[in-house]
Symmetry: C2
Subunit: 150 residues, 2 copies
DNA sequence: CGTGAAATTATATAAGT
DNA sequence: ACTTATATAATTTCACG
C-alpha cells in the first residue's frame, strides 16, 4: 500500500468504472502494472466492493431516516446484526459508544414503509429503545475517505 | 425506470466493475441494449457515481466517528455544507430533523486527527454545538438501497 | 426499443529488463 | 515490480427489424 496504490484507489473511488487505460494515464504507469495493482488491492481486501451511488428519489425512495437503537443485552448482538445485513432498506449500521448502541441509516419508499421497518426493528429480540430522525437533505453520501496520495 | 433498469442497477450496485457482457447474461438482454440502458441511467442522473468500498483500517483510517452538529441560524447553512463537501475525511453528512441539525460520518487516521477535525468543525461560522460518538464497529456500510426488481 | 455484426478499445498473458 | 508485445475479450457504432 504505497502512494501509487493510493492514487489508483483514489481514481477508482471517484469513478470505479473508468478503464485501467485511463487510470494508467493519470498515474503515469503502464496499463499492465495498473491492472496488476488493482488485482492485488482486491486480493488483499483493501477494495471490498465496487458499487454505485444512485439517486434515491429517482429510484423511488422518498424517505431517508437515521435510527438509534439500543439492545437490552449484548447477547442479542449477533441476531440483530444479521437482520441489519439482510434488510436491503438498511444501507448503513454502526455499533457505537454513547446512549444508544447502534445508528442505522434507512432508505425507503415512503413514511409508510418506514413505519413497517420501524415495527420490524422494534420486534427484533433484545431491542429496547429506538429514536428516529428524518433526513431533510443528504448533503454528502460516500463510503470511503480517500486522503490524497502524498 | 422499469424493472429491467432496476435489475441492471442492482447488478451494478453489487459490482459496478462487472462487464456489460456479464450483466447481459443475468438480465437476459443483448450487450448493446444493456450498455444503452446504463448510459441512459447515467444521463438521467439515476446513477450519480461509480465508487468503491475500501477497508478503512487497511488504508490507514483507524477511527470512525459520528458527529452531531447544530447551527445557530440557517444563514450559515451554505458555508457549512461547503466545508462538508470539501473535507475528504467527512464521508457522509445529513441535514436532519431533531435536536441537532446535521449528522456527520467521519473516517480518519487516529484520535489525534479526529481531534483536529473536531476543532475545524467547531470553528466553522455558526456552529454552536457538537456531540461525537465513536464507531466501535461498522456493521454495514453502503450507499444505495436497492430493492429487488419485481 | 431491440438485435447482431463490424470496428475500435480494453484487458489478460507472457517474456524480457 | 514495470514495460512492451501479443492474444483474447469487451465496448462502441450502426444498419436494420
Amino acid at each position: 500500500m504505497d502512494s501509487m496504490d493510493r492514487s489508483i484507489l483514489k481514481c477508482l473511488s471517484e469513478n470505479s468504472r473508468q478503464s485501467a487505460t485511463e487510470i494508467s494515464q493519470t498515474v503515469h504507469l503502464s496499463v499492465a502494472a495498473v491492472i496488476e495493482r488493482i488485482r492485488k488491492l482486491e486480493r488483499n481486501g483493501i477494495i471490498r466492493q465496487y458499487t454505485v451511488v444512485a439517486d434515491q428519489h429517482k429510484i423511488g425512495n422518498d424517505v431517508t431516516a437515521l435510527m438509534e437503537v439500543s439492545l437490552e443485552h449484548p447477547k442479542y448482538y449477533d441476531e440483530f446484526t444479521k437482520v441489519m445485513h439482510d434488510n436491503p432498506s438498511i444501507v448503513a449500521c454502526d455499533y457505537l459508544t454513547g446512549d444508544y448502541d447502534f445508528m442505522l441509516k434507512i432508505q425507503t419508499k415512503s413514511s409508510e414503509t418506514l413505519e413497517q421497518l420501524h415495527r420490524i426493528i422494534k420486534s427484533i429480540k433484545g431491542v429496547s429503545n429506538t429514536k428516529t430522525y428524518f433526513v431533510l437533505k443528504e448533503i454528502k453520501c460516500g463510503t470511503t475517505a480517500m486522503a490524497e496520495a502524498q
